[in-house]
Symmetry: C2
Subunit: 584 residues, 2 copies
């Protein structure tokens, strides 16, 4: 067995060889923090390629289906931009553009010969988190010890996406173990945030969020066990969905903590429009993935639920805003994003009440206890093959560590899991009981809350404290993210110290410096009921349209939202919005 650093060197060399050499550019100096405009100005992409890559999923699919754009040119455009983006923020792991272009050519041929698309994602380039095995490629999830393990078959979701017509073309970076809300590992190094390279893009799907936000991919697949889709999506100003357990196939993907059957990791989309979220989910579910993955719930895409049959047909919704979870007070821009959203929803005729969180600290502790029940043993056994360092922090000067073997017994684990079931029941009853406060005759339709207490922080500063996301994993509530605004030091000045909940709350408070976060995107979460993905997507469309309607003449600056307007997404959404008569 070679030294682990030799394995890394070999792997990095293979990665470098997989990059089309004529797409190498001279990136701006490290001191240039905001690199979002670089791909359009570097000269590698022509005007049409820039147009293609600035287009959202819905419109891309329309133009691909009508053969206005070929799959080959769309794949080429995104591949070029992805490679440029990678040189800026180090977001890719596996790069297989040749394979993707060959598939794209097949799709173009098929469409030309038959006049039909192969499926609902015909010709759409899709990037995949470095867990989704592809035949013939390595999947390391940041473990040096897994270098050289070439998959002999695709993960189920990869097969499903390919059959739907999608074109996987790159895989994206993760933290070692995929159990961090940032993105750094011993093989591929650190991914940074295109809006500000001194900030994290979040994690564990941080390669995805960095790539999609720089428009190097129209849609990426991330995974989420405690916030790993939503945190990076939010830190990069993107739409995303953390579905309930068993809605999207996971089978055949690589993961850590395998066999942990309680709080399950799930795959979901990260993209530039809520329309993209819907297209992905409907396409995947329509393939009946329960016939390929035994953990997928036999539940068809439900058009009635999407039309809010369980929510008064969407005419008179009541949203609940959680301003503060009782663990960490959100930073001023997060607070402002909640206020913007509340005003937009009220203007659109919806009710808004406050959400009272219960037992979030306990839920977070339960999730932590379940994850760590045997995680140290799991990580040690994996890394001991090569002796690679186990990453201790996400700080810039992380030096690795060797933890002591520890863990709990199966009986202790059962007690934690039992407690969790009790709290899930309590939370369900709590939600149902809100029916008495909404005035709609129904309980609160959805919760709107922060994704994190801050926008994208500097490296290593978020720690493991994903309190605004992990509770929903523990409860198995589906949740989207949607962009609202960006940090504006003028509007988002530092507040005087509050009465801190604890030291962590204090640390997060002290971390805030408006200038450090300038222009960082601010997203929120919309949280629904278990297995209610259809309604959660529709309600996110409604919130998104309400925000768009308000912001047209608004004083609020929102670069990440504006970027989204460049595509033809939002007028289409707005049109649908009118058709469905959800305006007040």
């Amino acid at each position: 067995m070679p030294h682990w650093t030799a394995l890394v060197a070999g792997k990095k060399q293979r990665q470098l060889k997989s990059i089309p050499q004529h797409w190498l550019v001279t990136p701006p100096p490290v001191s240039t923090l905001d690199v979002t405009s670089f791909p359009e100005t570097c000269g590698l992409l022509n005007a049409r390629e820039i147009e293609i890559t600035n287009t959202s999923v819905d419109v891309l699919l329309e133009r691909l289906a009508s053969a206005e754009w070929t799959a080959v040119e769309v794949t080429t455009a995104f591949s070029k931009r992805a490679i440029v983006g990678h040189q800026l923020v180090n977001c890719l792991t596996e790069i297989f553009v040749d394979r993707a272009l060959a598939r794209a050519a097949e799709l173009d041929d098929y469409l030309k010969k038959t006049g039909k698309v192969v499926g609902p994602l015909h010709g759409l380039p899709i990037s995949l988190k470095d867990q989704l095995s592809i035949k013939g490629l390595e999947t390391t999830i940041g473990y040096v010890s897994w270098i050289g393990q070439y998959a002999d078959k695709n993960a189920v979701l990869v097969d499903v996406l390919i059959e739907c017509g999608a074109v996987p073309f790159v895989r994206t970076n993760v933290p070692q173990t995929v159990m961090w809300p940032e993105t750094f590992n011993n093989i591929f190094g650190r991914t940074t945030n295109p809006y500000n390279r001194s900030l994290t893009p979040g994690g564990s799907s941080g390669g995805e969020s960095a790539l999609v936000s720089i428009r190097g991919s129209p849609l990426g697949v991330g995974s989420d066990i405690g916030g790993s889709i939503r945190v990076p999506a939010a830190f990069c100003g993107l739409y995303s969905l953390r579905p309930s357990y068993g809605r999207v196939p996971y089978c055949g993907a690589r993961n850590s903590l395998e066999g942990q059957d309680s709080i399950l990791s799930v795959f979901g989309p990260i993209t530039t429009s809520v329309g993209g979220v819907k297209v992905f989910m409907k396409a995947v579910i329509d393939t009946k993935p329960w016939l390929r993955d035994p953990l997928v719930v036999r539940k068809k895409w439900d058009g009635d639920e999407y039309n809010l049959s369980d929510h008064g047909s969407g005419k008179d919704l009541c949203f609940a805003i959680m301003w503060d979870d009782g663990l960490v007070v959100p930073h001023p821009p997060i607070r402002r994003s909640l206020e913007i959203t509340k005003a937009a929803l009220q203007k659109a005729g919806h009710k808004v009440v406050d959400w009272k969180p219960i037992k979030h600290r306990l839920l977070l502790q339960i999730a932590t206890d379940i994850f760590t029940a045997a995680s140290v043993e799991d990580v040690m056994i994996t890394t001991s093959v090569t002796g690679e360092p186990i990453i201790a922090t996400m700080e810039l000067d992380d030096a690795g560590f060797r933890p002591q073997n520890s863990g709990i017994t199966a009986y202790q684990l059962w007690q934690v899991q039992k407690l969790r079931q009790n709290i899930r029941k309590e939370y369900l009853d709590h939600w149902e009981a809100t029916a008495s406060e909404t005035g709609t005759g129904r309980p609160v339709d959805a919760i709107i809350c922060p994704v994190a207490a801050s926008a994208a922080p500097p490296m290593g500063k978020i720690g493991h404290y994903t309190n605004y996301t992990t509770v929903w994993n523990a409860l198995d509530y589906p949740a989207t993210t949607f962009p609202v605004t960006t940090v504006n030091p003028t509007l988002d000045g530092k507040e005087p110290p509050h009465d801190f909940y604890d030291d962590f709350d204090k640390d997060i408070y002290e971390m805030y410096d408006p200038e450090k976060f300038r222009n960082a995107p601010v997203c929120l979460q919309l949280v629904g009921r278990t297995l209610e993905e259809e309604a959660v997507i529709k309600m996110t469309e409604i919130v998104d349209a309400a925000l768009a309607a308000c912001q047209i003449n608004s004083r609020y600056s929102c670069r990440c939202r504006k970027q989204s307007y460049k595509s033809t997404t939002w007028p289409w959404q707005y049109k649908e919005f009118e058709i469905h008569n959800f305006t007040s």
Copy 2:
């Protein structure tokens, strides 16, 4: 703390006091093994009460809804027969006839005043396994240590059933821990089989199966984690369903091994017709139980799936028979029941192929490893409160034991659970691959197989070896039971020894003596795909009708089926059978 035997004496006295004293009878001597006819001949029930108690769920509900029979008279009739049955086979734990009659009177009033039923189960007496908490009553699941713990609220399923109009009136016996396929505990003692009191009624829902088979309840709710609904239903000649995880609410029920999140115990119906199974499932699911139990899957009752939309509309089904699981060779009457069913299905125009089991021994080992990961610790902690003996076997001379504390680590548990997920995938692919053999263009529609290698055996002889049922729990496949025949020593002579798989297979072979099993009911299982309850029920109706059609002019004796014909169930089924044009 009084000595555990004193607690038992007190509890038994309270139980005796809960029996209406004028319903005490003089039971036949212990030497009378078959007591099924006693309730109709003992003189306590009048002719109308006998008619009522011999009627199946569908017809009872029609007559209750039309006020032809009142809820009070139906509840009275079943209560009397239940009390008589209890004196014969010791099947009850909690008896609350007064409470039930009060509720029945309310229902009668409501119907009289409004002309409407309160719900789809209006006036139907339902018996409940001794896990389903009812406010104000104890729920011990056979633990002396839980005597005196009075529930402060109902289990969710109890609330759901009451709201549907059902009338809970008794709870039924279980083995200590509910983790045995027989029924014996230190509080209530042993339940026996009404067909032959030297045989077990099975377990752990053995109180239910004994009670329902003696017609002391039209429908009982059992639970199943390894066969605990199906084994007792089969040993007593009954229809039943083990639903998939999360279709029927479990929340608020008492259980052992709580917090074990991997192979979940589920509740399901035990009754005298497949129509009863359907009525129960549809009624429960139509209440949207996911709004009360966080583990219930948000999946409505699916009429299309019931009409076999995923199975060619049921016109050309292909069933696969598993003759032998490779662990224990079934006894001759089980083999004969499979042959009867095969012939009936072929006569009805369906295809029948052989099912090739894969990895059943491994699946059984995985399930055992998961259950025992912390079960000893769980049981010891529970029983140590009173020092009650831990039951060591289900033999007549069981003397209890104190096991050594043991168990595995969370990491070891994760490894077993990971292996299980891999085997679930393998089995799913195996099933899908049968599409190449059926000639229907679909994979096998359902598997038909034994429920156990034998009919109801003498006490203590089945051990823990529920190999024909537990594999489906481990795979989470829904499965019904349906009666086919009864043991007939003339037709079911002992076979010469085969090449034994192992000592257990040999023991089961040696246990068979046609005379000992005479007249014991023989049921089979029908097994479908995860969360496909609707289709599994419909296919069971089809199999049941095919059997009924064949047996009208058949040489096969089937007392348990004949008993079912006494009700008006089967002609109704037969009618539906014709309407849906499933005959060849």
